[in-house]
């Protein structure tokens, strides 16, 4: 049975999922404006199709496909994004809010993760998706998703360990 959702339901959903969706969209761009455009397009696409709100993985998958469509539609953008989206690239705008010193270090470490690991962390930690869902979104196996996640946490732990 498909529940009919009101406009208010969709607004609430956007309030809740907007921040992690935006974080996820930054995977393909280092510009917050571009990421916002991607999230807007993807969210409205889901809304027009009246996709089930319970299926958060579908929202993320739509963000991913929207971002890839944009990249494919503009080869210059591909080259530009490829040049700036190198592993460990720094972002000009903070992706996390209200941080103390320890959290700032952790946030910076997350942002320096390789893209393929960072997106798994984003989907796992801030979107609370299962590895199976993450695998579906990223078109990788469940085991690969779990493996990338473990690598990412290992890298973060190593980065944050006090140097002796």
């Amino acid at each position: 049975m498909v529940m009919e959702r009101t406009l208010e339901d969709w607004k609430t959903c956007f309030t809740q999922l907007g921040p992690p969706l935006l974080l996820f969209a930054r995977r393909w761009t280092n510009s917050r404006a571009d990421a916002e455009d991607i999230v807007q397009d993807a969210f409205l696409r889901c809304w027009r199709r009246q996709q089930p709100l319970e299926n958060r993985a579908l929202l993320y998958a739509t963000v991913r496909s929207t971002a890839l469509d944009r990249l494919r539609s503009d080869q210059r953008r591909v080259r530009r994004e490829a040049s700036v989206a190198q592993d460990g690239a720094d972002y000009f705008e903070p992706q996390f809010t209200a941080l103390d010193e320890g959290q700032q270090l952790l946030a910076a470490a997350v942002e320096r993760l390789p893209n393929e690991q960072r997106e798994v962390v984003i989907l796992k930690i801030w979107s609370e998706l299962t590895f199976a869902e993450i695998g579906n979104i990223l078109e990788i196996s469940q085991n690969t998703a779990a493996s990338r996640y473990r690598y990412a946490l290992g890298t973060l732990k190593k980065t944050l360990q006090p140097h002796e």
Partner: protein, 167 residues
């Protein structure tokens, strides 16, 4: 077993940056703009105005074709076999004095009633079937020089008597 649990809890304390008010406003406005067209299905609902507009165009085109055909193939209406009585009607030739020429004649039968068998008033031996037709006739004249047109529409009633044989 999971030695990352502490790190995971620390990560969960981080909050992704909030969506900017501008983005939120853009999304909400877009949803409000298209709220009337978003349905539970995939495709937006077709507006009823568009349907009526298409229907009107189709009707106009069909009427134009009928009129054109009648203009080319118009001929005097053939009389019914036996018409006992009929409503008074204008003839197509009347407005010709003003330069108008007959361009169309339509007759729509909207009711036919079989009134049964009767004896002919003149030939008492003969049996006839009486059928009453209620119609609406529309005649149209057009002045080819000025483009002026005149259309007359009126209800009519015809009673047709057909001989019946009992062989």
């Amino acid at each position: 077993m999971n030695d990352f649990s502490e790190l995971e809890s620390e990560l969960k304390k981080l909050r992704p940056a909030a969506v900017s008010p501008a983005l939120r406003a853009r999304v909400e406005q877009a949803m409000l703009r298209t709220d009337a067209t978003a349905t539970a299905g995939v495709l937006p609902r077709t507006s009823s105005g568009k349907v009526w507009w298409s229907f009107g165009l189709g009707l106009a085109a069909a009427s134009a074709l009928v009129l054109l055909g009648l203009t080319f193939f118009a001929k005097a209406p053939t009389p019914a076999p036996i018409v006992a009585q009929t409503s008074p009607a204008a003839t197509l030739a009347q407005p010709q004095a003003s330069g108008l020429q007959p361009s169309a004649l339509t007759q729509v039968v909207y009711r036919r009633r079989d009134e049964g068998l009767i004896f002919s008033p003149n030939q008492s031996e003969r049996v006839l079937r009486r059928v009453r037709y209620q119609t609406r006739e529309t005649m149209q004249w057009r002045n080819p020089e000025t483009g002026a047109s005149l259309r007359v529409s009126y209800p009519a009633e015809q009673v047709v008597l057909s001989p019946v044989s009992f062989q």
